[in-house]
Amino acid sequence: MEAVKNAVRMEGITKHFGSVIANRDIHLELHEGEILSLLGENGSGKTTLMNMLSGIYYPDEGQIYIHDKPVTIRSPKDAFENGIGMIHQHFKLVDVFTATENIILGLEDKGMLNVKKAAAKIREISARYGFEIDPNQKIYNMSVSQKQTVEIIKVLYRGADILILDEPTAVLTPQETEKLFAVMRNMKKDGKSLIIITHKLHEVLDVSDRVAILRKGEYIGDVETKYADQQSLTDMMVGRAVSLNIDRPKAEEITERLRVEHLTVKDAEGVKRLKDVSFAANAGEILGIAGIAGSGQRELLEAIAGLQPLEPGSSIVYIDPKTGKEQSVVGMDPLKIIRSGILLSFVPEDRFGMGLVGSMSITDNVMLRSYRMGRFNPFYNHRFPKQLANEIVNDLEVVTPNIDKIPLRRLSGGNVQKVLVGREIKQNPTVLMTAYAVRGLDINTSYTIYNLLTEQKMKGVAVIYVGEDLDVLLELCDRILVLCGGQVSGIVDGRNVTKEQIGLMMTKLGGGE
């Protein structure tokens, strides 16, 4: 057998952030001409490790070898000189520039700027690997997938032969993901070595040759993809056997709780983010909302929560579960909604930007919902939120040194999310809206949250679940509303629809071919 050559070898890499060890003594190899999946739960140190390869962080200990030569990578420039290119989760592109301009931006070529020559080179790269791109298109006219393409070409243009893709599929539809994987396979054939970070196990199995697994900052091991399956990978990742099934019981009584009709929302620039959206959310059901990132999910939930100005003609009606009385929510701000007795809970997408206060303790954050208690008392009640905070910490297994001193920002992302979800569920809502409720959570906690949502559903709560993982949406939700460009592309039964059908509806209104 031919000896494998290593494109990258990382030896004994350790990285601390304060007292936290992000990576401990990691040994990782990337063979030449292979696609390696880097798998691990959130906070297991995947991105940190890759950032050290691409020059964003510098390791505390350890040595990196590129093509078996020891190298020191102190900056992204050093990384490029070693042929390493990283495609980050968040794109770093100038909106008003064209693809070509973005790609050649920052290159230190001597002499005149030759945009035409650059465009020709970009076309050549595109043809070689099967990208579809117009070099002269401006970034702001591009879809997320096209922007990602520009980022990849940018790296290739600079001559990278080692590519790192950090969760590239998080923002893509299944169809776009397929295209990306095809491109990745072409690159592999061309002799490039690739590392892909992803949480989605079926993608790992689909695209990679080998899987390396990290857990809590440590290197657990690697396995050839052909010998792995979803269950075995999960067990390695979590460290013990995990059940991967979501229970989806049917509620006995399903009644209308929230009726949205002709909902139109414009943003500050006057662009319509939601166009004529109509649907009903029912008690005893989880209504999934699917769509490419930025298709109006955020605006939809914020509109219902009273945080978005609505255009005339929009109607949101809340049906009281006890009296059956219909009440319009249009024009109400969050305070008015609370005061009208509408028990609306909302887990927003941007935790610290909206749902929580990072510098405050768990108790003070829990108090955000209850500090008004006792209308004529100028002082707040501290005992009740403390008790509630304790309940949340116990019920959801939040790991924290204390509940009333440490600022929330110091907790890990998963624990922060648990506090937020816990607080919202503890309000005993009649409508529960969640946006990306499991983002940043490990598999185990994610399943805890799914079960909590189902529990709420069975209690007669109308649950709205905005999610990004289609597999979960299909397993969890009773009905799925698909958004496409701010419009309802369709509302389908979660029990008999396929991922491909939803994928098509996400990219094209109505899902027609």
């Binding site: 030896e11 004994g12 601390h16 952030f17 304060g18 007292s19 510098y58 390791p59 505390d60 200990e61 350890g62 040595q63 929560a305 945080l307 701000d333 969050p334 305070l335 909604i337 609370i338 909302f346 927003p348 941007d350 610290f352 930007g353 909206m354 749902g355 929580l356 206060v357 990072g358 510098s359 405050m360 003070d364 108090m367 955000l368 919902r369 500090y371 008004r372 008392n377 100028p378 002082f379 707040y380 501290h382 110091r410």
Partner: protein
């Protein structure tokens, strides 16, 4: 060498670092004092101390100065806790002082207050509340305007409050120095800014006659500020308003998500800040019986520093205002060999050194420097 964040420093270690910083700062101050004045630093401190606390009257006056600075620092704190960059305390105090002085002035023209048949106590029970209300309203207006414009048109509050300082300053300058008004302010035409000297010397509209002993004119402001310290501590720490202020300061979007009306909180808090500044203005006029363009004398800006140094904790502000007052006013009490005393500029220099160390040491509390910990492993 590189810098790493640390987040689990024990409290005693943090205070040890702060203690060391203050010791270094004081030693450096002593060295500099010696180099410039050739005086023994211990003697200097001793003289400062004697000058400030040497007699009962001096002690009263010093505590009063601390109270003034502390009062203004307390007043700006709610706004800063809300991340509203209010540097307008100078103007808010001054306009409050001006309003109080104006009430005092007009009262002097009323026959009632000149009637020898009415006792001083009766006159004062009428004039003090009137002065206070006027001062509080004027200060509140000075706080309200920038907050209103900020919430309505998103104007920059730093520039706005700064400009309001100049407006207040020019109003006062104009009123006390314009020739036509000179006689108005002081009927004898002598002391500019001395209001109604006839009434004032009788103890009406000022605190001079409140107690028997010398220096007790300062008792009233001191008591008011002491009460204010406790009230503000409770307000910021345990009240619903205080909680709302913290949430708005941290994230306006989180605040609106929780049903807090952000604009209302901003306006309400700034009115409070301005009103408290105005109250301190009243205390200054009452204690000093005069108004001038330099009545506030930069304390509106120093207060911002006091507030931040104490990390918005009213109790901590007692100590930081004491420190700053000791440095600033103490230096004036130190006679030099050539007959002039050390002046305020020298005191400011020393204060800058101390502040540099106090604020600078926070860096070492939050971060640690690592030297040569990077070990390359050759394989």
């Amino acid at each position: 060498m590189h810098i790493a964040k640390r987040d689990n420093l024990p409290v005693w270690k943090a205070w040890l670092i702060r203690g060391i910083a203050i010791i270094i700062a004081i030693s450096l101050c002593g060295l500099i004092t010696y180099l410039f004045t050739k005086m023994n630093p211990i003697t200097v401190v001793d003289k400062m101390f004697k000058g400030l606390f040497g007699s009962e009257r001096k002690t009263w006056k010093t505590v009063y100065q601390v109270a003034c600075l502390l009062g203004i620092s307390l007043a700006v704190t709610p706004a800063f806790k809300m991340r509203f960059w209010n540097i307008g305390a100078e103007g808010q105090v001054l306009i409050g002082a001006f309003a109080a002085a104006a009430v005092m002035f007009y009262a002097g023209r009323m026959p009632f207050f000149n009637d020898p048949g009415v006792s001083m106590e009766v006159k004062n029970t009428i004039i003090f509340p009137a002065m206070m209300i006027a001062a509080v309203l004027a200060g509140a207006l000075w706080g309200f305007l920038p907050a209103f414009f900020k919430s309505r048109w998103n104007t920059n509050e730093t520039l706005f409050t700064l400009m309001m300082n100049y407006v207040a300053l020019q109003i006062v300058k104009f009123m006390v120095s314009y020739r036509g008004f000179k006689n108005l302010w002081s009927p004898n035409g002598t002391a500019v800014g001395m209001i109604n000297s006839d009434l004032a010397s009788a103890g009406i509209g000022n605190f001079t006659k409140i107690g028997e002993k010398p220096g007790t004119q300062y008792l009233f402001p001191i008591v008011v500020v002491a009460v204010l310290t406790v009230v503000l501590y409770l307000y910021l720490r345990f009240s619903k308003h205080g909680y709302e202020i913290s949430v708005v300061g941290e994230s306006e979007r989180t605040a609106s998500y929780a049903g807090i009306k952000v604009n209302r909180v901003i306006i309400r808090t700034m009115i409070l800040s301005g009103a408290l500044c105005g109250l301190v203005g009243f205390l200054i006029v009452g204690a000093e019986g005069t108004i001038a363009a330099n009545s506030v004398d930069g304390r509106g800006y120093t207060a911002v520093m006091v507030s931040w140094m104490s990390q918005f904790n009213p109790i901590g502000m007692i100590f930081s205002s004491l420190l700053l007052v000791f440095m600033q006013f103490g230096a004036k009490e130190v006679p030099m060999p050539d007959g002039v005393s050390l002046d305020k500029n020298f005191a400011n220099m020393l204060m800058a050194i101390i502040l540099f160390f106090i604020i600078g040491c926070e860096f070492f509390i939050n971060y640690q420097l690592q030297f040569g910990r990077h070990k390359k492993r050759e394989v």
